[in-house]
Subunit: 398 residues, 2 copies
């Protein structure tokens, strides 16, 4: 499989880890790596505008096939000129396959389990998994929906993102090794069907990522890495359970990434914590995505470098909560070293007031800050890799 | 009373109406009149940022004493450097006196009654009105609060807006003439006490508006106009009931404005409908304020010129509702003649999707459009006044 309009270039590999500096070229521009992909779940960044995203330094966003197929529908997005035009974002964009949300909503909460947290109770919407695909109920109207590898690729073709992803089953943490193995092999067959459907309709404006499954089991991860390496994917995304602890995540990500074809970009699905990113980069991850930075913003959580978390007594978290009464009369910006629009104009005291008064501006202002923070973090880590001082640089952040 | 750092300049008066073109000079810049003042009720434009407000052409905003005295408190705003610094708005700003909300929440709904609509049931929070002032329960915590003319001015001094307003009783529509007369005379005494308190603490950075009451009664409006003309206010604001119909509003506003000192700017409180503004300007009104443009935006209402309302079958309204299913696949911007950020980047179909998906961006994008619309309306009306073609220009809008 050729991707004439895409390429991935590795500029440098760190001396003391697998961390690497690179560039992903797409028809909508370049993504410098390592980088973070912001989630525009339903074709919109919650609390943001495309202009804000650009102004605060974002290079790439993603949108979710699962949500968009249900509302407004892929056909409508295609008629409206594709996702880039529809949502007014002209930079690089990724869509996922829909699998994660089907199985996440279906089983309860895969997202929590991937990160080793206890599952919370949610209505189960997954009706059936078979070799053909997955049958589930729409969370909007309860109607039965079927998603197969072919359909996921067709939908993603209609949406028109630059980078798209094969359809897979995302297994929860609690399943045993034999289920994980069976599921992984079905995901491989789904991966091949996704690739075949992709090739049937390929017009050169999209590139396909394969997904590595296998849970926390080294032999399964190895088998899955071998599978994706052997087929014509443009890039690789690490999915499935990464274990129950930070150290297990490091192990799983490390052993997986180290076996992946080095000439292809590697994405780590659904991970966006600062220390997880810093660790992931050491293991050779090129891109990350997560709703975390924009989600915590809407609840008053502002991402800050380590010294500020220490100062405010929250070194175990990666943010300070502006709702805290201590910020009520604070005339300082969230972070005086930050160059974002919010830190240029608003004090912590004002943001605290906005949160208490439930003003929309609280959400948009802190989202703006967190987007800038993530881009600043990634830029500083790239610069540090360039200048061979990654382990020094991370001390400012972690 | 001198206002050395403020002035009002009348540049031109229309040949066929009392419409006038002018400029209000404040320490934070110039307001070209006629103009519209956007409501940043709790020190924030709902759905907007200060930067957006500037970019879309806004010259002046207002904030509400009633809300800010309860949260975060005027003392805190003063400590934080005043309202301009607190909320990051460096342009001209007005605060009201708190009276309107006390009596509006207290009686049920003054806002509806001013505009001749039926009152809806709400919890009554007004505990007592006396010569001294008003006692009411905080809508936040139920605590008893007292607002007097002196306290209103002190709070507005702490807040630090450029233009501030005397404390008055805002009578509902249903009260009779004798109540209206008694209330008006008390408001005059409150106006004098407000002026005295203003003079005691005057530092030259604020200018005081007097309020004309008198309901729909010509003799009372005349008496009230005489009162404000006779005292050292910088400007005049028309308050109280304007009647039960559009034509009565025109009559009340017309007979009131015509009796006001022509060298002072005239504000019409709480009015923001397009045709009401167009009419008000004919009667000699210089500034207007209302939550209408930003409030309807949050529910999908996009202000558009007349031909678009006709096209979509809503000539009786001043907006089109983007929630309407007809916009689902519409690739056009809200208004192809509009230069706002939203119309440059987003289609009606995309905004329709955002509304259905309950995305925050729906609110901020349509608010951006409506803010631009109001500023474009006011600019076009000013240009038309300048060029003696006001009655032609209004046909595009009304």
């Amino acid at each position: 499989m050729d991707y004439p309009n895409f390429s991935f270039e590795v500029l440098k590999i760190a001396a003391t880890s697998r961390a690497r500096l690179g560039r992903i070229y797409t028809p909508h521009g370049v993504v410098e790596t390592p980088n973070f992909i912001f989630c525009a779940t339903k074709a919109a960044i919650k609390g943001g505008t495309p202009q804000m995203m650009r102004e605060e330094g974002s290079q790439i966003i993603l949108s979710n096939t699962y949500h968009l197929m249900l509302q407004p529908g892929a056909e409508l997005v295609r008629k409206m000129g594709g996702l880039h035009k529809f949502m007014g974002w002209d930079g690089p964009m990724l869509t996922d396959s829909g699998g994660f949300q089907i199985f996440s909503l279906g089983y309860g909460s895969v997202a929590d389990e991937i990160k080793g947290r206890r599952s919370t109770e949610r209505p189960k919407t997954l009706l059936k998994i078979s070799e053909e695909g997955a049958t589930f109920k729409s969370y909007l109207d309860g109607k039965k929906q079927v998603l197969t590898p072919e359909k996921s690729i067709q939908i993603q073709r209609d949406l028109g993102a630059d980078l798209i992803v094969v359809f897979d089953e995302c297994t929860p943490f609690h399943v045993d090794k034999s289920y994980t193995a069976r599921s992984m092999r079905m995901s491989h067959r789904w991966g091949l069907r996704s690739l075949e459907e992709f090739q049937r309709g390929a017009s050169g404006v999209q590139a396909l990522y394969g997904i590595i499954q296998g849970g926390v089991y080294p032999d399964l991860r190895q088998e899955s890495a071998q599978f994706v390496n052997d087929h014509g994917f443009f890039g690789h995304a690490i999915g499935g359970s990464l274990g129950a602890s930070k150290s297990q995540m490091t192990d799983v990500v490390g052993m997986t990434a180290s076996q992946l074809a080095p000439e292809r970009p590697i994405h780590l699905l659904g991970i966006g914590g600062v220390s997880d990113i810093i660790n992931g980069i050491r293991q050779g991850i090129d891109t990350f995505d997560c709703v975390h930075p924009t989600r915590i913003a809407r609840h008053g959580g502002a991402l800050v470098p380590r010294h500020l978390r220490d100062e405010f007594g929250t070194p175990h978290k990666e943010h300070i909560n502006i709702r805290n009464a201590r910020f009520q009369e604070d005339v300082n910006p969230i972070d005086s070293t930050c160059g974002c629009t919010t830190c240029q104009h608003f004090s912590r005291g004002y943001l605290h007031h906005l949160l208490k008064a439930k003003e929309l501006l609280a959400m948009t202002a802190i989202t703006t800050h967190n987007v800038h923070f993530m881009n600043r973090l990634m830029t500083s880590l790239r610069n540090a890799l360039q200048e061979d001082r990654y382990e020094d640089e991370v001390k400012f952040w972690e």
